[in-house]
Amino acid sequence: MKQTTHPPERRPVPDRKGAAATAPLPARPAPRRRRPTSQQWAAWAFLAPVTLYLVLFYAYPLYRNLDLSLRNYTVRSFVQGNAPFTGLANYRTVFDDPTFGPALTHTVVFTAVCLFFQYAIGLALAVFFNQNFRLSATLRALFLVPWLLPLIVSASTWSWMLNSDSGIVNAALNAVGIGPVNWLTSPSWSLTSVIIANVWIGVPFNLVVLYSGLQSIPTSLYEAAALDGAGAWRRFWHITFPLLRPVSAITLLLGLVYTLKVFDIIWIMTKGGPADSSTTFATWSYRLGFGNLLPAFGPGAAVGNLLVVAALVFGLVYLRVQRKQYAS
């Protein structure tokens, strides 16, 4: 196995391992550089499992997905493995598809609205629970329930609650004199419904991360600000919010990646319908590849790759922002 690795590839790999190891603990850039070869072999041996794991479970699937999206796969060529290379034809098919425009809009709206509400509600709750009143720990634990439930359970429950005819939400609306809303079956409401469900599911994550971020803000700052006569609102905007910025950034980035790829909730609640009104790239990719009796692997993979690229772009944006923060 060892002989198969080419010398030029050796150097970047330890770097990558270093990054993977230091990512959770950025304060440990232990500089272990070139030493005698016997030690280098030992280092390699230690690296091998992680490298193998990364290659097997990340690099190869990614490569396969890219390959799928660049070839014209029919069911026949999928089985026989002789699909012709067609360059970007699948991407062109996807871009020209009438579903592309709506799916793009829905993905952007879904992600932006979900992120905004998840973050705003999560932050509000985190600040609220930071007061440490009686039972606050219990209440905080209760807020975690949506996070603990399997997605299929929460999504099915939401789709029962939002059922047009027998759902509890419409029953409640009826009780206060508002006519029934076709939450899941009307093209103008379906996206809103899946957003509501997804916000509910995403709030606990934001709450937990932001709450722990709040713990690291020294109380002395608040005391000093209070002495200077700053009200609660000012203290929030001038102390809490700026000091929470690094935590907020990573929360939002993770939230973004999670939200971009949300699939289960939408698929269970609406199947992306009716009439594509809640189709996002994630559900569209699935439908192309698996949702039909005749799978269209190529375009499905192409849509999947667009998602990966989108997530990657935002990851890089995050990096830039963070670098700027360090510089200032």
Partner: protein, 413 residues
């Protein structure tokens, strides 16, 4: 700081890629070893996960195996999983020896070159009803034999109809059915429930009405096709059918009917056992065509197929296994447990003799039509997807039935 930024870049890039591929990269995990090294072991895949190891079905497989002198290794998959699993297995040259698969999938798998023809395996299909067998035929070749069939009909709740003053015998065509729904609605009960979900299930449920109007799948936007979709859309508008049908699967639609509030439900043979448990008097009515007579409903049910093997010597035993599974006695037993109608006249007669309630179902199956028949083959999935989209657009009010079907037809090309 420069070095650590580079590392962090890689770290973030990797994390993001890893998280995002979560959805896309799951496709290549289907390599559960289908074949052992032992050539005396034959693998069978079926879409009946509801049958456990000690079920009659599993025992039947073992019996057929021991008659053919081999051991059987059975794997049960969820129906919706089976197509991709079979394609992946074939790609890895790891296909099962016998594959039992939903009938509209047969043409897709045949197109992929995954299945042998019955000429290759010398399988006798002469006993199966031609209209059922047609779903597994394309270009004059047959790719398997049906193990059982089901189709759709209208279940009705006798109590609700009686309270509304509707005589079932009066329901002969679409206008009389709509009149009945109107009466039920006026009596304060709910009319009809069906499944119009945005999957193959939705197309399956819409087809009896589509075909009943005289429309053809090759021309979705014909006047007849539009009239079928308008029938459904009007029912929704007038409140004869609940708005929830747009998201109903056939199971949720059945649950609505089982609540006892609905007069009619479009559902399949497989609900018969549940109908007995529903706690009210029910009846079964073939789905009427627009001007009277019975509409052709689509055939459901599975085909027994023999996938292509590298070692063609295995076909002889595979053929023995299939013949055993589809022998008269075994068909009777299997179709009784599955609550299916048998694919051969001989067994159908036997089924009616033991249970007279199956008679309308046997008739419905005889009048039914395969979705991939008429040499549509792999054209069907494309048409079907556009059709269920059109149904969803029209029912949700996004488009008029005519516009919905026109754009569906132009998307099929």
């Amino acid at each position: 700081m420069n070095g650590s930024t580079g590392r962090r870049l890689t770290a973030v890039a990797l994390t993001v890629a890893a998280l995002a591929t979560g959805t896309t990269a799951c496709s290549s995990d289907g390599s559960s070893s289908a074949k052992g090294d032992d050539s005396g072991t034959y693998t069978i895949w079926d879409p009946y996960p509801q049958f456990a190891k000690n079920s009659d079905w599993a025992k039947l497989l073992d019996d057929c195996g021991s008659k053919a002198g081999v051991k059987i290794k059975r794997t049960a998959f969820d129906t919706s999983d089976l197509t991709n699993k079979a394609l992946l297995a074939a790609q890895q040259d790891n296909a099962p020896d016998v594959l039992i698969v939903d009938n509209p999938v047969v043409s897709t798998l045949a197109e992929a070159g995954v299945l042998t023809t019955t000429d290759d395996t010398k399988l006798d299909t002469s006993k199966a009803d031609p209209n059922l067998l047609a779903a597994g035929q394309s270009d004059g070749k047959t790719y398997g034999t049906p193990i059982g069939a089901n189709t759709l009909a209208l279940y009705y709740n006798k109590d609700v109809l009686k309270a509304a003053g509707v005589d079932v015998a009066s329901i002969k065509d679409w206008p009389s059915l709509t009149t009945a729904l109107e009466k039920v609605n006026k009596a304060g009960k709910k009319g009809i429930t069906f499944s119009a979900i945005g999957t193959e299930e939705g197309s399956f449920q819409f087809l009896p009405w589509f075909w009943g109007s005289g429309a053809k799948l090759t021309e979705l936007d014909s006047t007849q096709g539009v009239s079928a979709l308008s029938l459904w859309t009007d029912w929704l508008k007038k409140g004869y059918a609940p708005n929830s049908v747009i998201n109903n699967t056939q199971t949720t639609s059945w649950q609505e009917f089982a609540s006892g509030d609905y007069a009619f439900a479009e559902n399949g043979t497989w609900q018969l056992a549940n109908a007995e448990k529903a706690g009210f008097d029910y009846g079964v009515l073939p789905i009427p065509a627009s001007d009277g007579g019975n509409a052709a409903a689509p055939t459901g049910g599975e085909f027994v197929t023999v996938p292509v093997q590298g070692d063609t010597g295995r076909y002889t035993t595979a053929q023995k296994l299939v013949t055993c599974l589809t022998s008269t006695d075994n068909l009777y037993a299997t179709d009784t447990t599955l609550s299916y109608v048998a694919p051969t006249t001989e067994v159908q007669d036997k089924q009616i003799a033991s249970n007279a309630e199956l008679k309308p179902w046997v008739e419905a199956v005889k009048a039914a039509k395969g979705r991939t028949s008429d040499d549509l083959g792999t054209q069907y999935p494309k048409i079907s997807e556009q059709m269920w989209k059109a149904v969803q657009s029209a029912l949700s009010g996004a488009k008029s039935p005519k516009d919905a079907l026109t754009s569906a037809q132009s998307a099929v090309k």
